[in-house]
């Protein structure tokens, strides 16, 4: 009754079985490798966003007067007056930039001036390249919580751009990132390309240390 399998089919099946086992083994191995690579990458990525272990300045760093730009009104118009503040002249440019941005995030002390950054916004990272472009990365609320208005958006953007470029002449352009990514605009109006200092809507007239900036 029982039909015997022909010999060549038997060999074929065995060969297939062996092939399948080998392939499965390789497959499991490859999957394992990929998983370990992804894991490693994740660890590296998390490291990059870890809070700085070193403080932004040393106790020996001398104080440095800076002007921080905040929205305020003049004769019923929104402008961007500057407020005098002090940071510390740390050796690293990025640390000085972070201190300036911290002041921007903290908001103004002078009555009549308004915070320029929407609430819940955090500074994620600052990177300055050789060409003098500062890439400043804020958390999502910078865009999501922005109340809008073209002029008001200009005030937010140039509060950041002017505060950095005015006080740190090494920074020539500022590129604002939101949540680690490029965004076309914050609230639908102003292009977030690398932007230069624009003092036309401020009460400050001349950039300081112009000679220094050019000598560098």
């Amino acid at each position: 009754m029982k039909k015997k399998l022909p010999r060549h089919l038997k060999f074929g099946l065995i060969a297939l079985g062996v092939g399948f086992a080998v392939t499965l083994g390789l497959f499991v191995d490859v999957i394992g490798r990929i998983q370990s690579i992804v894991k490693e990458k994740k660890e590296v990525a998390e490291d990059a966003f870890a809070p700085p272990k070193a403080p932004l300045y040393n106790q020996t760093d001398p104080p440095m007067p800076v002007k921080i730009f905040f929205p305020g009104s003049e004769a019923g118009d929104l402008i961007l007056p500057a407020e005098d503040q002090t940071i510390f002249r740390s050796a690293e440019l990025a640390n000085r930039a972070k201190q300036v941005l911290q002041k921007v995030l903290e908001g103004p002390k002078t009555p009549g001036l308004f915070p320029s950054i929407p609430k819940d916004t955090k500074l994620l990272e600052v990177f300055i390249d050789d060409a003098g472009v500062a890439y400043v990365d804020f958390s999502d609320p910078l865009s999501a919580n922005h109340p809008g208005g073209m002029l008001n958006e200009q005030a937010t953007v140039y509060s950041i751009v002017n505060s950095l470029t005015y006080n740190l002449p090494e920074i020539r352009q500022v590129k604002i990132l939101v949540g680690g990514a490029e965004k076309e605009t914050l609230a639908g109006h102003l292009l977030l390309l690398p932007l230069e200092m624009d003092l036309s809507i401020t009460n400050v007239k001349k950039p300081p240390q112009e000679q220094v900036a050019h000598a560098n």
């Binding site: 929205p71 305020g72 009104s73 019923g76 118009d77 929104l78 308004f114 915070p115 060409a131 003098g132 472009v133 109340p147 809008g148 208005g149 073209m150 002029l151 008001n152 200009q154 020539r172 352009q173 076309e184 605009t185 609230a187 639908g188 109006h189 102003l190 292009l191 390309l193 690398p194 932007l195 230069e196 624009d198 036309s200 809507i201």
Partner: protein, 488 residues
């Protein structure tokens, strides 16, 4: 037995496949444009390569040739050069020096067939005529043939679908409607045409397909239409370098004044109303859809901008008789790019973006008129403009910077005058919607949504109409001043 049967089947399949591949010759028409004549050829596709019949070309060029079929060589005699071809070989010999083509010469059923690169590699050297083609193109331009480059664009404008044709030089366009075949043919006359694309991926309620077609040497655009198309109108602009082909659906009542001002005569240079060089004005209602813009408990920026935009459209149509296109006529979200696209694709003469302000200070007036920042992004970290091969799109505004400032000034004057208590300071910034437009453009921001007093005024229909008529009047003055300056 079985095994040999399988082998046989596989062998037949393989042979069949290879046979199919090498002889999948399909006859299509293929034109060569010369300076004063056009040669329409039957091309064959073999091994995915386009082949042209050699004898037809050589005869058209009046070149001496010998076709030694027995010896299987073909020779072409130029003024002081001789070209010899043998079938099956990718080598051709010019004055006994070999030249390697990408594909072999063919000799099928008594006909000599040459691949396209034979024209530029071989034939141009004996004939002295230059042959130009791009890989994948369905036509060749030869010698002094100077084709007009064609750019096509289609867009739905309410009940009309507008096909915009732009060419580098003057042409004439004639429309032939073939209702029975559900298509319209736009004949492009006066110059050979080099289309950037063979077809446009566009389809809507009125237009089913748009394809360029010139296989018989007559350039035309074939538009597949639906039964909903009532009428087709062609309007020429920019001295017959731009044509608007409007496929009109059900009769439009709102746009009626626009049509009387721009008579739809085919191929007549600029037949617009004499007092205006601005044929199309694009009004951009800021924000929309999930993007509400600035927010107040009583109203949203997106609703106010749309309300004012609609009133402004009515005011402009009755005053200027220009076509007015809104970037959005409903509550939809659009990117800045999409808004500028509407203006650029419609060859608009003016672009006005409407916004409502918001100031953290409740007592601020808030209004402004924005133009693009003049020296935007040309700083030290960028290449100097002279060293740039291409300008990025966001610098398109530069062409019209002066005109945009002039328009802003006129708007400021008129708005300050008719709206007492309101002031509109001129400002500039890297405004997204103003960056990539190729016409004079401004953005107007009204009031302060953080102020309840301001909101009460803004939602008032009487105020909105007043704003619209004032802007329309300012635009009219600006357009007339420009037309006057141009005619002098």
């Amino acid at each position: 037995m079985k095994r040999s049967a399988t082998v046989l089947v596989v062998a037949i399949l393989a042979v069949g496949l290879s046979y199919r591949q090498s002889f999948s010759a399909a006859d299509t028409d293929f034109p060569i444009y010369f300076e004063n004549s056009t040669l329409a050829l039957k091309s064959q596709t073999v091994d995915k390569t386009t082949y042209l019949p050699l004898v037809d070309i050589v005869k058209h060029l009046n070149l001496a040739y010998t076709d030694a079929t027995a010896a299987l060589t073909f020779t072409i005699q130029g003024q002081n050069s001789r070209l010899a071809l043998t079938p099956g070989s990718a080598f051709i010999s010019l004055n006994d020096r070999p030249i390697l083509l990408q594909n072999p010469i063919r000799h099928d059923s008594g006909q000599w067939l040459v691949p396209l690169d034979f024209l530029s590699q071989g034939l141009s050297r004996v004939s002295g005529i230059e042959f130009r083609y791009r890989p994948g193109d369905l036509r060749v331009f030869a010698g002094g043939a100077n084709p007009a480059e064609l750019a096509m664009n289609a867009q739905a404008l309410g009940s009309t679908t507008r096909l915009t044709l732009r060419t580098g030089s003057r042409i004439d366009v004639e429309v032939q409607r073939e209702t029975a075949q559900h298509r319209a043919v736009l004949l492009l006359k006066g110059k050979p045409i080099d289309p950037g694309r063979e077809r446009l991926d566009y389809k809507d309620r009125l237009v089913q397909s748009i394809a360029f077609e010139d296989s018989d040497g007559v350039a035309r655009i074939v538009v597949g239409t639906t039964d909903d198309v009532r009428d087709i109108r062609i309007t020429a602009a920019e001295e017959n370098r731009v044509f608007f082909a409007d496929f009109i659906g059900e009769t439009v009542t709102e746009a009626a004044p626009a049509e009387t001002a721009a008579p739809a005569v085919a191929a007549k240079p600029d037949a617009a109303a004499p007092n205006t060089n601005v044929r199309v004005i694009v009004i951009d209602a800021g924000h929309g859809g999930i993007d509400s813009g600035a927010v107040n408990a009583a109203t949203l920026e997106k609703d106010l901008t749309l309300a004012i935009a609609r009133r402004l459209r009515a005011a402009l149509q009755s005053r200027l008789g220009a076509s007015v296109v809104l970037t959005r006529d409903s509550d939809v979200a659009l990117t800045s790019e999409a808004r500028t696209e509407v203006a650029n694709n419609n060859q608009a003469g003016l672009f006005v973006s409407l916004h409502v302000g918001y100031s953290p200070n409740k007592t601020d007036a808030g209004s402004s008129i924005f133009v693009m920042k003049a020296d935007f992004n040309s700083g030290p970290a960028n290449q100097p403009p002279g060293q740039r091969l291409f300008l990025p799109w966001y610098m398109a505004y530069r062409i019209n910077q002066k005109a945009s400032e002039g328009l802003a000034l006129q708007l400021q004057q008129d708005l300050n005058q008719t709206l007492p208590g309101w002031k509109f300071p001129l400002r500039s910034g890297p405004v997204g919607v103003l960056a990539s437009v190729t016409m004079p453009a401004v953005a107007i921001e009204f009031g302060n949504l953080n102020s309840d007093v301001s909101v009460q005024t803004l939602v008032d229909p009487v105020f909105q109409t007043k704003v619209a008529t004032t802007i329309a009047a300012a635009i009219e003055k600006f357009v007339e001043a420009r037309a006057g300056a141009r005619s002098q």
